[in-house]
């Protein structure tokens, strides 16, 4: 039991738990209100002054209650547009900070521990990189250390750390067994979908706006190929298509969305007829809070086990049945040479010929003239691409804002922009010419992590065009290549650095490309990849693989046996930890001293003790021992008898005698020599 009433001054656990809250709140700074962090810092100061006794009394309960009311109002007014989870975290940190000022009872302390554990869990939901995970795991260990300290306040901290380490090391194997072998459950209910995604693809593309996405260097996903990496030119990762254009913005088509929902309800599966060689790979997608998945065209799920969760869209788009809240691993096979004239032709035609009613008059005019020149669809497409290549267009991440008639402005006035501008203009031109076309957003490129793995970052986000020219179905056009070929061949990062646009954003990002930093960054990325692949990506399929590996074949009986085996293993572990019989009983101090002395004497006299009792052995060798040695050994024997058999106590203490015996023996020549 810990103390029921917690002292204000000099109580270490109170201070430590305040420190814990300070650190954890700071680590979540991007999701915290600044004023909440400020409050947390103030509480730390209050606790420090209480700990060192500068203030004798904790703040008045009424004061803190007043503060609580004010904070609640502040939180309500300041977090209107925040998603649920950050609001909850702010609330939790706020409440705990106020509680921290008033720790008086054991109960308060326990509440803080429970809330602290919850905060760590929130950290695991928000951040899942290896570094962050290790940080929050360490925070949890620290919290447990505080708890242990509160329950044994008088032991030295070294001893406490050791005991906690033993406890945690005992726990880990059991937890690992549970993690690997406990059956995975499907989600019980749908979690509220978060609206905010600072990074990630947007479902609305307005080329006139300033690109925000491309500047983020967060990881989007990693792809591990079974064979070699595809050529840079072929690394077009489709996420979803934008098919609705209003003259300014491209959005996901409502008709398409509606059709998809209907098809899903009817459970009509689309199985594209594939052609050509296959590329197999596995993707670990960072959380997007959305349903879409990325893949190279034309991708189908590699394994029937994924068919449960991945839905093959009729527009070649892959969607997951659940939003991606955590890193998600899935395996795909792509057939790049597939002719994409399958699916719902009439729907595709209808959706992808949609045009805004008015606007961009110059473009309309220009397309009409161009179309008259090139009646053939293929020639028209080629002419469009040529136009982008030869008319002095410039690739830039910071184009001027184009608010009215953006396509006109882009094509004829400014002639500068990034992928969204080019794709938008080209798709619009196609549609004006009566050719079905749409914009595909996704990622292009990727940085090789090792021989078979690509890392794709948010700045690799890209938009390109698909058009239905003839019976060969959807074909891909990327007008950006005509302007900035390096964007495609060298990757975005290369192109942007060349133009000097990316570096200026973050003073530290330049560092990451030089010397030791480059090495560390690469190493970190590799570790993080292994972490996602083997821990975060450990899903039902992997678990089934392990079961198959152990059992050979999956049958209910064998699985039941495996379950029983795991339980027995856990019981065995517990027995190992807590049944001390197999361990030899440690020797008492007097026994150790006596045995050490006997060893010295045996070495000195050459007469072994064998099974003789202590007294007998002394009598046997008494005559051979010269003076101080005999006396010292007799004292040790006496002490041993006193402790072991309750004989009358000797005058001297045995430990000193042992040291004296050693020096006495050292001074003498051994008898045997």
């Amino acid at each position: 039991m810990m103390l029921e009433h917690i002292p204000v001054k000099g109580y270490r656990p109170s201070l430590l738990i305040t420190l814990f809250y300070g650190v954890i709140a700071t680590s979540m700074w991007s999701n915290m209100h600044f004023w909440v962090l400020l409050l947390c810092g103030c509480v730390l100061l209050v606790r420090l002054s209480l700990y060192f006794g500068q203030n004798k009394h904790a703040p008045n309960k009424r004061t803190v209650n007043l503060l609580a009311v004010l904070s609640a109002i502040a939180l309500l007014t300041t977090s209107g547009d925040l998603p649920l989870l950050p609001i909850m975290i702010n609330l939790l940190v706020l409440a705990c900070s106020l509680k921290l000022m008033l720790i008086a009872l054991r109960r308060d302390f326990y509440q803080l521990i429970i809330c602290g554990t919850f905060l760590v869990a929130c950290g695991f939901i928000l951040y899942q990189s290896l570094f962050r995970s290790l940080f929050y795991a360490a925070a949890l260990v620290f919290l447990l250390y505080i708890l242990l300290s509160a329950h044994s306040p008088f032991s030295p901290s070294k001893a406490r750390q050791k005991r906690l380490a033993v406890l945690l090391l005992q726990t880990l194997p059991v937890a690992a067994l549970l993690f690997i072998f406990m059956p995975r459950l499907p989600p019980l209910w749908k979690m509220p979908e978060s609206k905010q995604t600072e990074t990630g693809l947007s479902e609305t593309m307005t080329p006139g706006d300033i690109a925000k996405l491309t500047k983020s260097d967060d990881l989007a996903f990693t792809a591990t190929f079974d064979d070699t990496l595809p050529a840079p030119k072929a690394r077009y990762w489709r996420a979803f298509s934008l098919e609705q254009f209003n003259g300014k913005s491209w959005t996901v088509s409502d008709t398409r969305r509606h059709a998809r929902r209907q098809l899903q309800q009817m459970n009509r599966l689309f199985t594209p007829h594939t052609q050509g060689p296959a590329i197999s790979y596995e993707i670990i997608l960072e959380p997007t809070q959305k349903h879409w998945l990325v893949g190279l065209d034309t991708a189908i799920s590699a394994d029937s086990s994924y068919a449960q969760s991945i839905w093959q869209g009729w527009d070649y788009q892959l969607t997951n049945r659940k939003p991606i809240f955590s890193r998600y691993a899935y395996a795909l096979t792509s057939y790049p040479q597939t002719i994409r004239n399958q699916g719902l032709g009439s729907l595709d035609q209808q959706v992808n010929l949609q045009l805004p009613k008015d606007g961009n008059p110059e473009t309309v005019q220009w397309v009409q003239e161009l179309r008259q020149k090139y009646q053939n669809n293929r020639d028209f497409a080629r002419a469009l691409m040529m136009y982008f290549g030869n008319s002095g267009f410039e690739y830039t991440l910071t184009p001027p804002a184009m608010t009215s008639d953006p396509v006109d402005n882009f094509l004829f006035t400014y002639k500068s922009g990034f992928c969204a501008h080019y794709a938008s203009a080209m798709a619009y031109a196609f549609r004006l010419a009566g050719i079905p076309a749409r914009i595909v957003t996704g990622y292009q490129g990727g940085t090789p992590l090792n021989d078979d793995t690509l890392s794709i970052y948010q700045y690799d986000a890209h938009a390109w065009v698909e058009a239905w020219l003839d019976e060969n179905g959807w074909q891909q056009f990327d007008p950006t290549t005509m302007v900035a070929p390096t964007r495609i061949n060298g990757g975005f990062e290369h192109a942007a650095r060349y133009s000097g646009e990316l570096i200026g954003e973050n003073p530290f990002s330049g560092l990451s490309h030089q010397g030791i930093f480059a090495y560390l960054t690469a190493f970190g990325a590799k570790m993080d990849y292994m972490w996602s692949r083997w821990f975060l990506g450990f899903n039902e399929e992997r678990q089934t693989d392990i079961f198959k590996h152990i059992l050979g074949k999956l049958s209910p009986l064998r699985i039941a046996l495996l379950g029983g085996g795991i339980i027995l293993l856990i019981v065995g572990l517990l027995t190992l930890y807590f049944m001390p019989r197999w361990r030899p009983i440690p020797l008492a101090e007097h026994q150790k001293v006596y045995l050490a002395a006997v060893k010295l004497i045996e070495g000195f006299t050459g007469i072994p003790r064998e099974e003789k009792s202590a007294r007998r052995y002394y009598q046997a060798i008494e005559a051979t021992l010269p003076e101080p040695i005999g006396r010292r050994f007799f004292a040790i024997t006496q002490y041993f008898e006193h402790r072991e058999y309750g004989a009358p106590p000797p005058q001297a203490i045995a430990k000193d005698n042992l040291a004296q015996l050693k020096t006495a023996i050292k001074k003498h020549q051994p008898l045997r020599a």
Binding site: M1, F124, F578
Partner: protein, 321 residues
């Protein structure tokens, strides 16, 4: 209310069979109770919440965390038990006290096994709230457990509850131990003149009135009949109650203290006798005691004092045991 009392008696009866009264107890499987404390229950609820969050978010980190916390609970279950079992408690016989004073039960705690024991052991009387904490890592492991007394008589000490939640407070181990100890509470001491009668037979006739002027021995609540020069003015000046000083002349001769000399209020008489026995014993006088049927021959030993006081404590009370 009736139900809970019935439940309590039932539990008490069960406990009596399970943990037998003994002066020394070693904790083992038979006398340890173990269950998650309130904090432990909250911890379980929290772990369950984390587990549900984990499967809803399909978050492996969270899943592992919830499984780790579950395993930790399992491990602490055993660790707590191991840390508690093997402790041995030895009660030291309780010394009698006068009513109103505190009975002090001293319990020695020893380790009966090789294990080192850690944490704060909580010790209290069963069904009371007043707690005493002992650090199991300290060198001297003696608990002093006081209990208030109000009435004279011979009583059985209630069970002592030991409570330990080391290492993490999630799991609570406890036991209710009956040390098989009885204690005697002497009547409270009521100062009065000492009335020693020389003959054991006829109490009322040859009593020696010993009220004198020589030797101050006590303060008594002031009564209207007391002379004013005996009032303890110093005390009154300090704002205390009115009290009068009582003086006596030293007693040389031996005699009997007799309950019959002290009026009809038995309790008051016993209190006065208690005071007289205590005073006489501290002066080394020889005295005897007569309580109607019971007669204790005059003596001046410590054992005699205790016998007299015990007789006073148990006078007409023995049936209560």
């Amino acid at each position: 209310m009736v139900f809970s009392t019935a439940l309590r008696t039932l539990a008490e009866r069960w406990l009596q069979k399970r943990i037998l009264p003994q002066q020394t107890h070693t904790l083992n499987r038979k006398n340890i109770f173990i269950f998650p404390g309130l904090f432990g229950l909250f911890y379980i609820v929290m772990t369950l919440c984390l587990f549900i969050l984990a499967i809803n978010y399909q978050n492996n980190l969270l899943l592992f965390m919830s499984q780790f916390l579950t395993s930790l609970l399992l491990i602490t279950l055993f660790a707590t038990y191991k840390n508690f079992s093997g402790l041995a408690f030895h009660a030291i016989a309780v010394k009698p006290v006068f009513a109103g004073e505190e009975v002090l039960l001293r319990i020695n705690i020893v380790h009966k096994d090789q294990n080192q024991h850690y944490g704060l052991l909580e010790v209290r009387w069963q069904n009371t709230r007043q707690k005493h904490l002992v650090d199991l890592e300290s060198d001297s492991l003696t608990v002093r457990l006081p209990m208030n007394t109000s009435q004279r008589g011979k009583f059985k000490l209630p069970r002592v509850t030991f409570n330990l939640a080391y290492p993490l407070g999630l799991i609570r181990c406890w036991t209710h131990i009956d040390f098989d100890q009885t204690y005697v509470v002497y009547p409270a001491r009521q100062p009065c003149p000492i009335l020693l009668s020389t003959s054991p037979d006829e109490g009322g006739k040859e009593k020696s009135v010993t009220l004198g002027n020589d030797d101050f021995y006590a303060l008594q609540p002031w009564q209207k009949t007391d002379p004013l020069h005996r009032v303890a003015w110093k005390r009154v000046a300090k704002g205390g109650d009115w009290t009068s000083k009582v003086f006596s002349t030293p007693q040389a001769q031996s005699g009997y203290l007799n309950i019959a000399d002290h009026g009809v209020d038995t309790e008051l008489a016993l209190k006065r006798l208690s005071w007289q026995v205590d005073t006489l014993a501290s002066k080394g006088a020889t005295y005897g005691l007569r309580l109607n049927q019971i007669t204790l021959a005059p003596a001046n030993t410590q054992a005699h004092r205790e016998a007299c006081l015990t007789a006073l404590a148990l006078y007409k009370r023995e049936t209560t045991l």
